[in-house]
Amino acid sequence: MGEKRKENAAVISQEKLAEGIYSMWIRTEASKSAKPGQFISVYTNDGSKLLPRPISICEIDKEEGKLRIVYRVTGRNTGTEQFSRLGEGDTVPVVGPLGNGFPIKEARGKKVFLMGGGIGVPPILELAKQMDCEKKQIVAGYRDMHTFLREEFEENGEVYISTEDGSAGVKGNVLDAVRMHELEADIIYACGPTPMLRAIKAYAEEKNIVCYVSLEERMACGIGACLGCVCKTKKKDHHSNVHNSRICKDGPVFLATEVEL
């Protein structure tokens, strides 16, 4: 009881990867038990902004006790803008790791799609690093030529890129890249905006393959108490006793067939 806590994590480094996209390494106890697909709650030190920002874990370094988050600054005077100004010597309050993470063992011996779209791309990196499978196909979708993390993906699997404006890789979304390169998989792991996940879910159903999706929703507590961030479920959820699951606690990763998108 009472073993988890909000801690002040030390900022190790901060780097701008692309316009509005930042990468921050922090030293935190959360690194000890973190798994790919989990997230941390990051808090501002600004009393007018009370709620945590849920940010996916991009890389885990257990030996050094650090985590990397790659996040988008969502606008002027936002919490994420404040995070982007932090540097070495600063601290940032965090709680984590939170959520369930990707079921990574199911990929053993299989041909895999690791799909990320937009700010859903970062959690795919640690997943790709840890994944043990027959064929690792990373499909990353971006808005434009700012294909952040691309080189790091290339060290961890076959990389296919799509961009909305066609300035890099295949013009279109991740599924356009799959079709263009005639790729095939036995299992999918995906994180990104809901329309992308909806399309991937439909693709997986059509091909009859297992698909895990990592969902996003506005959160308040981040720990499963407030019921702010629910998604609709096919079956009655064991905890809520209705057709709703908590994304922060029971997710963010769900079997695509179990949720309505």
Binding site: R5, L50, R218
Partner: protein
């Protein structure tokens, strides 16, 4: 030094509980703190049957606070009794069950079902702004509030706390009405109805369009309403609204609250309630106050 308070015949070890809906039934917070440090745990509202709640987005941040329109999603009284009450009983704290409903019959059914359960107090939510028939109809009209209080009191085996809405012109009149109906205590304030618009998408921030505003931004309004209520009724008051620190809690007690509930601040720090309990104790020590009860309503001109 005494931190104990007596609310309608129930002794709490200290005056701190949590605001319904911000704490589930405590299980998630038990990973961050010892629930036995609280005077009482107030549960998320429970109804006679499971409720699905509102569509998402259900929450949004606003300056100095937040808005929610969860819509009272809850697993229903059966699963609640089977799972949540035994869980909470493991801890040395009082259990306050928040009850919600759409009609007088709904409320009475839940209250009756709880009559033989091992819980200490009931809090009747007649003030949720996010469900059309979620009790607000009872919470904005003094006669309706008195009527529903009288109805639940007929079946209640535990002391009844009526939770009041701030979305009224005369909070003292509402408090008097539930007192006349037989309420053993009142709690206030529930959230204030608000609206937030996303100017980039030009859409409502919440799927429900409106939601309840809570957090430090509403604290002065809550203090004023608790003060006005304290001038009007004899029953004890559980004060809430934007309490985020021991100082905020003491302010509420000085305004006339016998106990306080911490809500939105739980989202900012899952262990904030234990810090508030410690802070109140420290305040008593530093000011040489023997008994927390000396502070209740002790504000001066």
């Amino acid at each position: 030094m005494n931190m104990k308070v007596n609310i309608a015949g129930v002794e709490w070890k200290n005056p701190v509980t949590v605001a319904s809906g911000t704490f589930g039934s405590g299980a998630e917070f038990a990973e961050f703190m010892d629930l036995g440090r609280l005077g009482a745990v107030t549960t998320k509202g429970v109804s006679n049957v499971p409720w699905q709640g509102n569509p998402t987005p259900r929450v949004a941040e606003v300056y100095g606070g937040m808005m929610n329109a969860i819509g009272l999603q809850n697993p229903g009284i059966d699963l609640f009794c089977e799972r949540d009450i035994p869980f909470l009983r493991q801890f040395d704290t009082k259990i306050i069950v928040n009850v919600c409903g759409k009609s007088e019959e709904d409320y009475c059914e839940v209250v009756q079902r709880l009559a033989n359960e091992d819980v200490d107090m009931l809090e009747i939510n007649i003030s949720c702004p996010n469900v059309k028939e979620g009790g607000i109809a009872f919470g904005q009209d003094p006669r309706a509030a008195e009527g529903i209080t009288r109805a639940v009191k007929k079946y209640a085996k535990q002391p009844v706390i009526m939770k009041l809405s701030p979305n009224v012109t005369d909070i003292a009149g509402m408090a008097k009405a539930v007192e006349a109906g037989g309420a053993d205590a009142v709690s206030l304030i529930n959230t204030l109805t608000g609206m937030k618009i996303d100017i980039h998408r030009r859409t409502f921030a919440l799927a429900n369009r409106t939601g309840g505003v809570s957090g430090p931004a509403v604290h002065p309004i809550a203090v004023r309403m608790v003060y006005e209520t304290a001038q009007a009724v004899k029953i004890p008051i559980i004060g809430m609204g934007g309490i985020a620190s021991a100082e905020d809690a003491i302010e509420m007690i000085l305004a006339g609250a016998s106990a306080v509930s911490v809500g939105t601040a739980n989202f900012h720090d899952p262990a904030v309630t234990t810090k508030i309990v410690d802070g109140i104790e420290r305040y008593l020590e530093e000011n040489h106050i023997e008994d927390i009860r000396e502070l209740v309503g002790a504000v001066r001109d």
